[in-house]
């Protein structure tokens, strides 16, 4: 297996692009990532494109005007973990020696409102919404660990504060704790400002094998772990973790093992904060604190921009936005900028190792469909 680096990244500002074709704004992200990488367009040998709602051959439709004739373009769907999945697939193609240079693309143009459940999904048919699902996790966390409404809301306050410093974020206003708590109730205890918005956007990353990386870019970022995994059934009879917790925990452990490091070595992370409670759960699953202590972690400011382990410096899904198939690549873009020292006003102090984590695709029986974790190193 060859070592692989990220040499070019770019994203559109996440927001609402109702007047623009997705092919157009996604192409702009690809062009910018290619330009950032220093490769010539014709050097790109393979493309993986993730999306959930863009129809057939989305990747080809994006790349058709870029002059990349005839390369294999593989379209990937893995719900909210789609971006992590297309990045993983590109990594795999290069690590395996099949190609030297590839591009990972993520794009989504969302429709307004709640994401509809799959028709076979029994829970979805009986009124289970995504906010409702996470609200139930929040209620249980509050019951078991005495996590408070204020601690939940503080996740959103932190991420909106970070988002206010990010020119690529959908929402760029910082919010007070009162504003978050007093916004419209969506599913108790989650208020509107603790739910990620409906967002469009695209992100892209150019990858190449490590041995040629310096030829293109003077600051290649190494991919030291790349994991995609799926949910498995967990028996409550045996007192197992919930399927969701087991999935992110297992993905994290596999990534740490692959990188030969532990959670204490991570300097900055982007995790899947689709709802405030989700970020707290991920602190625990990814080992940034012990189970039950995530409320304390946010309370003490440990995950703030100037804390011991800054989490979601980009503003996360809550403020930067969540264009499903693009989210995972958007996280990679942020971590690459952080490791290069290009994150401007939201720059974390000299990080050397960063982690990204995305998860999604609610599926009764196995919890979530997919989870992807990456560890990048300067």
């Amino acid at each position: 297996m060859r070592e692989v680096c990220v040499i070019g990244v770019a994203m559109t500002r996440f927001g609402r692009y109702s007047e623009i074709w997705m092919e157009e704004f996604a192409r702009e992200a690809c062009e910018a990532a290619i330009h950032d990488s220093g490769v010539r367009r014709e050097d790109i040998q393979v493309a993986y494109c993730s999306q959930s709602f863009q129809g057939r051959v989305a990747g080809q439709r994006i790349l058709k005007d870029l002059g990349l004739p005839g390369i294999p373009v593989i379209n990937v769907e893995n719900a909210c973990a789609g971006g992590g999945t297309s990045f993983h697939a590109t990594w795999m193609a290069i690590a395996g020696g099949f190609y030297d240079v590839g591009i990972a693309i993520g794009v989504e143009k969302m429709t307004k409102g709640l994401i509809p459940p799959n028709p076979e999904d029994l829970e979805g048919l009986l009124g289970r919404t995504y906010p409702g699902r996470f609200a139930m996790m929040a209620q249980r966390h509050m019951y078991e660990y005495r996590t408070t409404r204020e601690q939940l809301a503080k996740v959103s306050v932190k991420n909106h504060q970070n988002g206010s410093l990010n020119p690529y974020a959908h929402y760029r206003e910082s919010l007070s704790l009162e504003a978050v708590l007093n916004s419209r109730m969506v599913a108790e205890p989650l208020t509107l400002l603790q739910c990620c918005p409906v967002t469009d956007g695209a992100a892209a990353a150019v990858l190449c094998s490590k041995d040629i990386a310096k030829k293109y870019h003077d600051q290649p970022i190494e991919i030291v772990a790349s994991i995609v995994t799926s949910g498995v059934y967990q028996s409550i009879r045996k007192g197992d973790f919930s399927s969701e917790t087991e999935l992110s925990k297992r993905a994290g452990e596999k990534a740490y093992e692959m990188a030969g490091i532990g959670p204490e070595d991570i300097d900055v992370a982007e995790v899947h904060d689709c709802f405030s409670i989700a970020e707290l759960l991920h602190y625990e699953e990814l080992g940034f604190c012990r189970f039950g202590e995530s409320g304390k972690l946010i309370e003490e400011g440990t995950t703030s921009l100037n804390g011991r382990i800054p989490i979601n410096p980009s503003g996360g899904l809550l403020a930067k936005g969540h264009p499903m198939g693009a989210t995972g690549i958007g996280q990679i873009v942020e971590i690459v900028w952080q490791l290069r020292g290009q994150a401007e006003k939201r720059q974390v102090k000299n990080p050397k190792v960063g982690l990204t984590h995305c998860v999604g695709g609610a599926t009764p029986g196995i919890g979530q469909g997919a989870c992807s974790v990456h560890i990048l190193k300067k």
Partner: protein, 138 residues
């Protein structure tokens, strides 16, 4: 005459029994794996726990405990908020997502004992009553 045409139909077949008299209790229909004894809902041909294929259909307990819940203030399609939903742990060791009823008067508490009821969840385009399962606090 109009009224007689309206039928009571389950929202999906094979999920629950509908009592034919008031003294009878409704049940959800699950599967028990003959190999590992795992009980699952809904019933299925392959065990989620051990992937065994020897499963028997079982009527599940109609009482359980509330594992967690929420009051939804933004509804899924065809559901008008506010409505409550939650997960119920049955004694067989199966956790079931369900709509909740009776919470407006009795309130909801994690750990509380809950009972299965079969109720209307909506009407279809032809005016038929669509039945589904819900749990209510005892």
């Amino acid at each position: 005459m109009e009224k007689e045409k309206r039928k009571m139909i389950p929202f999906r077949e094979g999920l629950f029994t509908v009592p034919s008299s008031l003294s009878e209790k409704p049940h959800l229909i699950g599967s028990r794996c003959q190999n590992c004894q795992e009980v699952m809902f809904p019933s299925r041909p392959i065990c989620l726990n051990c992937f065994g294929k020897n499963l028997e259909q079982v009527a599940l307990s109609s009482r359980g405990r509330l594992f967690t819940f929420t009051i939804n203030h933004q509804g899924a399609k065809e559901f008008s908020p506010p409505y409550a939903s939650g997960y119920i742990d049955l004694p067989e060791g199966v956790r079931i997502y369900s709509l909740l009823t009776g919470w407006e008067t009795k309130g909801l508490k994690i750990g509380a004992e809950m009972e299965l009821v079969i109720e209307k969840i909506k009407e279809d385009n032809e005016g038929n009553v669509v039945l589904g399962y819900k749990f209510r606090p005892l």
